[in-house]
Homo-oligomer: 344 residues x 4
């Protein structure tokens, strides 16, 4: 694993948690890398990694490593992930895959060429209610899908401490890649490919290199239309990742802060149903950290050959396609016109 | 009054209800017009109008008439309203004012030239919680406004009976003018003028002349960005006119189906507060029909000279400016580019 | 009408509003009574009553009066209502009917003997969602009813100005008769007669003569069990009159602050449905004042002989039976034992 | 550990999860016991216990065992827990502690005499929002507490398969000990000791030995009054453990299905705040399983001497005192009178 901050905790705990959930492969926490020795050693010891190293190249060359998890800053996604894939390691890279579509495309090409299992860390696909939504859409019960709208609203951006997340070189974009990428991935997972976008992208806080917020309209290949929105400046909204799908016979609505609830809309209104997977009895909810555990259970199954990673897990191709939508958002903001989303 | 359908009920009952609420002027229900004699006479008798006439021209020429209320189909907004104004009648015309900006502009010019009080029927300005929101924004308590998002979602469009609302000549637009106009008016009332829009407009139901839905991004003159959306095809949504304002120090959220609640967002989340005006004790809510009563109390005060109609009441200028935004939405859908909103 | 305060407004406006809703009888606002001449005259003029008198006895003897509406303080319910009935007037008396069961019983006896239509002002029966709930229960769709729970929580009692509502002689009880009576009436309307109660009754604010709050368990004759609760001291609760019914096949839940919503529970959770009567299109809600309009439309139909007042309207018998439950609550608090509810 | 069903999963996963959360003591999963060899071995292997044994006596006599976790049926709580304590093992026993107060008292006496750390499995004390509520009450911010109401509603009882949970000998009570015990413990944790109860207890489903539901009023030693309720027959309610505290200056409300939200009530209404501990960034919620992890982190700290188990962890004394309230509920249902809660 590369990275030992917030994402280090989430991934390490989830990897360990798979051990009691009949994983297709047994997990061993071999090596964690990061440049700050004190912080890395603290994380290594606390999270139970066997060893810590300063340079991820040592991990890529380590025979004991079968899966390379990249939880580093966005600028550190491409080179280590590509190197790991070329060394025959399976790779899970956090989202956004690259800082733009070109970088993401190169990552996809390398991973495909290497023949390894490659995953992008879109963990929200593994919220049980999201999976249930996907199944409802696929079943045709909602009829013809006409609308999708998503907003991912947080508010910490008003007085945030300095971070690589505000540095353009390190992060690529701001709210677009950090928050918007999740909405775009769910849009693709639930409704299908996005054909065009028209967006406004804005930095409000003086001195900020990256976007604080964006808004966009989208056209889907299936004919549906919708809106996408993300902001780090939505006072009162903490982690409000909410989306809604409207179909000719039914609708679905969801809010990540109440991630165990799937609202199912019919002719007369919406019913609140609890969808929290099958670990616990009805109404005993799962948490955000559990989405990573589900993600790894699925990934381990794919590595073991029990199933394909796709469609439920996001591959580097999903990471790349999401990046094309993000790029189109940026282009549209500049061109002040609708931009088609095209893939290489 | 012109019109005797759904809008006839709402307006007639509200006009009568003002009588017990210390109106600036006493209301007398003089004359109702409409071409179907049976239906008109039924409405006249039930709603308490003194007389019914087939032709609105008789009302425009009637000395007893001081206020002309136009609740007819969109295509019948311009000519009667203009004639009434020219005859010196004060005019309240339902929204959308005209079928497009040009028609609305002509109505505004005529009303201004006649020197009468002119009002556009944006009744949602008279929801007590909306008025409270306006005052909170104006007080500066929310700080710098960065986002506004509104969606007006209904679902009756999937299997609606034939209606002038689907006829392009009679209505101008579909969801845009019917539902979207309300959101646009509140956007202007709460946040200020809209500088540009980029939109997708779509008819989904085969054979429909007008739009079933639109989505748009907007830029406000004040710098805020946002999304607007309306649909008649959002299964599960009945009359979901919801908007949210995010500012640097506070946020507000509202849903017309729970029109007595104003959600006030601060650093830690949103508080649900009840805002239902001062007729009843705390927590005793008002209804949709009551917004018309408030609207008429305000209009009667403006006619009596007690206060200006604007800013709390919408004038023909507000109706016209809303129409410019609607036109820009239509243009943008065709041009696939952002369209500036400009005013004559 | 006797009374010109808060209840005077609600009743007067509702009486006038019936005029445009095809009432079975035409309403004329003949006479309003009250001792304070200035306040009475202000109300009379504002609300449109033809004349004002100091003494209700003049109304009882007035040939023009067909319906006597008693909106006075609780201590003024019995004598005027009985006198009016004996004079052949139909009577609508606000709740609680009498200050205790004995007083209520005497009122019932007098009204029955006089042969007039008699109604107790349980206006919440006329919330459209409550009526829909009654019909769902009656239809058997919920199966066997096993639970009913209701709470009526307000918070103004902490720092309320002096009022007859805190005076034992004037009011009988505090939260029990003021708020609890509404819950008890809906319990009876929706689930049936209450067989026993066990209660705690408490005054928390020093110097207060009447109860601030009560809690009770109840057994219904049908076998269901439940809880009832009311308080004027529930900080944060404004007019939270919420109840829930659980049956073997379905459940219903309601909150007066969102009085247009009826939550319908099935195997997987609750669906929010809008039930707001048939005045307006779907999703266009009614308000608290409208419940009085519905109440009068029903009462006028009963007076005209179009239907019985019961079961949808509450008679003096319903007022009396509610009072027996209230009395049993008071007895149980003193005896610290379950008290059977028995009727004369 | 004794037990390998649902509780076995929850406890085993939580014990393992502590390893990455800086536990005061390192956890080793030594031995799991249970009579069905196939099921036990499946659980042992899956959950990572070193060995499985048929008889808990082997665990009590095992030197490697430092903590005995009793997750068996209620009838298997007392004897093994007492034996473990006498053998010097620290003990965590699931709730309800014993099947009645007498059995619970004997367990408490044995554990106290043995000088071990003893805990009752009231895991809901370890919901971050519950802990935050306790701190708000303790801070005095809510002022004088006047009301507490709790309901724990589920619906699986209508068509549940046979289970020891319906067997009086095996379980003691039904909804009272299974669900009600949690509410009673939180009532004590948040508001203080319960002085009296008055209850109705009912079995609705034919042939059922234990109660399906109970309702009760309570008086607290601090003067507050309230209601308690639990049911396995509340159609539409899945795991609805909701409570509310009203104080003179503030209120709190909570629902276990949305266990990351604490509603904070003030003069104007309730604010929804997210309280999910400090593992993840704001708005990234924890799940039901995480409450066990928090519980074990706390217990391990108490065993290591870093802090007392009480007040945040529930001891056998808390389990015993809860049982006295449960017994009083049963007595009150029989006596049809209020029953004082007294402690030995």
């Amino acid at each position: 694993m590369l990275g030992y901050a917030f994402m280090g905790d989430a991934h390490s705990r989830a990897l360990a948690a798979t051990r009691q959930l009949e994983p297709a492969l047994e997990v061993e926490l071999v090596s964690i890398s990061g440049r700050d020795e004190t912080a890395r050693e603290e994380a290594r010891s606390r999270l139970g990694w066997v060893e810590g190293v300063a340079d991820w190249r040592l991990q890529v060359g380590d025979e004991r490593v079968g899966l390379f998890v990249n939880g580093g800053p966005n600028a550190a996604h491409a080179e280590p992930s590509v190197a790991a894939a070329r060394a025959g390691k399976h790779v899970l890279c956090e989202k956004p895959l690259g800082r733009d579509a070109a970088e993401s495309w190169a990552m996809l090409q390398a991973a495909e060429a290497a023949g390894v299992v490659h995953a992008t860390g879109f963990n929200y696909r593994f919220v049980p209610a999201v999976r249930a939504a996907r199944e409802l859409v696929a079943s045709g019960e909602l009829g013809e899908i006409v609308h999708f709208r998503a907003r991912y609203l947080q508010s910490w951006g008003w007085d945030a401490p300095p971070s690589w997340r505000f540095d353009k070189e390190a992060s690529g974009t701001g709210a677009i890649g950090d928050l918007g990428a999740h909405s775009i991935d769910l849009a693709r997972y639930l409704v299908g490919e996005i054909a065009s976008v028209s967006a406004v992208v804005r930095s409000f806080v003086p001195g900020r290199e990256v976007d604080d917020a964006y808004v966009a309209t989208v056209e889907f290949e299936c004919g549906a239309i919708g809106t996408l929105e993300a902001s780090r400046l939505a006072t009162g909204r903490i982690n409000h990742h909410a989306w809604e799908i409207n179909g000719s016979r039914g609708s679905l609505a969801f809010d990540q802060e109440r991630m165990n609830e799937l609202l199912v809309g019919g002719r007369r209104g919406f019913a609140t149903t609890l969808e929290h997977g099958d670990w616990w009895p009805p109404g005993h909810i799962v948490g955000w950290g559990d989405t990573f555990t589900y993600e790894y259970l699925h990934l381990l199954g794919a590595i073991a050959g029990a199933h394909e990673l796709s469609p439920h897990g996001a591959t580097f191709n999903d990471g790349y396609r999401c990046a094309e939508v993000c790029d189109a958002i940026v282009r549209s903001a500049a061109s002040r016109a609708k931009e088609e989303v095209s893939y290489r």
